[in-house]
Amino acid sequence: MTDLTEKSPALQDVAAKLFRARSHSIEVEARPRTEVLEKPLTFNPPAPKRYYFYLMAPAIAVLAFISLYPFFWLIFLSLQDVDIGGGEWVGFDNYIRLFSDSRFINGWTLLLKYSVICLTLQLSIGVLLAVVVNNSRYERFLVTALLMPMMMAPAVAGLLWLFLYNGTFGWYHWLMQSVGILDSASILARADTALLAVIIVDVWQWTPLITLIALAGLKRVPRDQLEANMVDGASPMRNFFSITLPNLYPVLLIAVLLRFMDNFRFIDSLLVLTGGGPGSATKILPVYLFEVAFKFFKLGRGAAIALTLLLVTIILGKILVRVFENPKAGRS
């Protein structure tokens, strides 16, 4: 054979061609199929970016006017002493004065105290309630009932509870008096109980949100893990703490962050119930800010306070968005 090829260059050529053809066909066959399928022939690729920017433009323009512009205006305001009449440039004076403002510091500590107590109560009651509702036959009805308080305007909720707490004809006041936990003064009128009264209203209105979030989380707890654990002899209690609860952590984290920010965001019911009083027993920072900016119209000082509040919210928001984007949290 070797002789043959050596002698005839034509045959050598054919052999080379054959070899190339074979190796080529191997190459073709070895090409993974997915490579072809991953990039289909696109007749209509996504439009140029320009097109999408045009669609975005109206929303961005509106947002720029009502969020970006006010943000810079806020910084500008905080460097001035603004009254009804006009402004006077004072530099960082507003900020420096905040450090010696006891009501500002009091506002922050109260806000933290208020938020932490609210959240602790809402989380413990809310999760417990979710577990109970999840095991109930009447889940649909129960969830509907739980939704009701959240549909009410917080200001109206405040007014309703103002009526219930009323020292002369409030039914809840009567109830608390009859049980013996309150004397004749209304719960709102005393400095040591007013904060608690406000917290109760927040718990009444927003615990169901935690319950609904936890309920959605409970639906995703893997059943097989629970069953496997049970087969291994775990008690229901043990099952709850070692499997159900860890599975709930991601959604509960979202719930906590959302409620925490809402406590910063909304002061409607508090404003209606106590207006920060008695004294400054319930004057959490947003309420104090409201007073400075819209009662005394010290917009400059208000702006400085607002910026500290915004800063903390933005940090919280960064954390929240990170939790959102974590695929393990929330989305199923």
């Binding site: 509702v133 002369t168 959302l258 965001r265």
Partner: protein, 292 residues
């Protein structure tokens, strides 16, 4: 014994837990719904009947709560002596206006954010969502100052714009999630059939329409229930229901019957709407983090 019954066993402890959980549920239901019940009943009570209360500790006399002749006079006086008809209209226009603006602009932006990638997109997104998260009072300080110089304070357009500060970011954020679930292949198929880009966009709208509808309602709910913006930005010419209700509280003479009636008027429509969009409510209230 069927196989699925194997794991259910009843010990005294589980029995106790079951009884306790029923008691807990019942108590919680009463705790949640009782305020509504009292509000509703009190709105039909005469002034004197509303003040009737048993003596402290006198549990047997609790029935005085039902000892009244129902009257509609609070509702009538709200609309006749007080301009609650106008306030309802203000609430409707402000809430509806901002909801429609937010969802139209929001769905365009959400659609394009879901289809295109560019540098700084996540930063843009964070800016959008942080607008929604900002404390209302903090937003209001500069907004009030700006709106005052533009003569927008106390007008409905001003209030609509103010509500858009939280509704537009919300709409963009939530609707992007909806558009993300619609594959681009559908639009592509439409364009192969000769549709223009905009027609292709319109063709996928029916797929997201239920979501868009639900979030219009949710935007209305947020705006309707707002108090702070309405109290400051809307003060004067654009009084909404929560603010008007609050103003019934006067130092000397608090008209509780009228306040409760106004509370019912403000709350009832939102409850009805809430039931209509129940399916989307949890998603909406948790900003899309939790899907039911």
């Amino acid at each position: 014994m069927a196989s699925r019954d194997v794991v259910t066993y009843e010990t005294p402890l589980t029995k106790l837990i079951r009884v306790l959980s029923v008691v807990f549920l019942a108590l919680y239901l009463v705790w949640t719904l009782l305020p509504f019940f009292i509000m509703f009943i009190s709105s039909f009570k005469d002034l004197l009947a509303a003040f009737k209360l048993p003596a402290v500790g006198d549990w047997s006399d609790i029935g005085v709560f039902f000892d009244f002749t129902p009257t509609l006079k609070h509702y009538r006086s709200l609309f006749e002596d007080n301009a609650f008809g106008t306030y309802t209209m203000n609430s409707l226009i402000a809430a509806g206006g901002s909801a429609v603006i937010s969802v139209i602009f929001g769905s365009l932006a959400a659609y394009s954010l879901s289809r295109v990638n560019f540098r700084g997109k996540s930063d843009l997104f964070f800016w959008i969502i942080s607008t929604r998260m900002a404390p209302v009072v903090a937003v209001m300080v500069p907004l009030y100052s700006i709106f005052r110089s533009l003569d927008l304070v106390g007008t409905l357009p001003g209030l609509i714009l103010a509500y858009t500060t939280f509704n537009l970011p919300f709409a963009i954020w939530i609707l992007k999630g909806f558009f993300d679930n619609v594959p681009y292949a559908i639009e592509e198929a439409q364009m192969v059939d000769g549709a223009t880009r905009f027609q292709a966009f319109r063709s996928i709208l029916p797929l997201v329409a239920p979501g868009i509808g639900a979030f219009i309602v949710l935007c209305i709910l947020f705006a309707w229930n707002d108090f702070l913006f309405a109290a400051i930005i809307g003060s004067g010419g654009a009084k909404t229901l929560p603010v008007a209700t609050r103003e019934l509280v006067q130092p000397q003479n608090i008209q509780w019957g009228a306040i409760m009636a106004a509370g019912v008027i403000t709350t009832l429509p939102m409850m009805a709407l809430g039931l209509v969009i129940r399916k989307y409510l949890v998603t909406g209230l948790t900003m899309g983090a939790v899907k039911e």
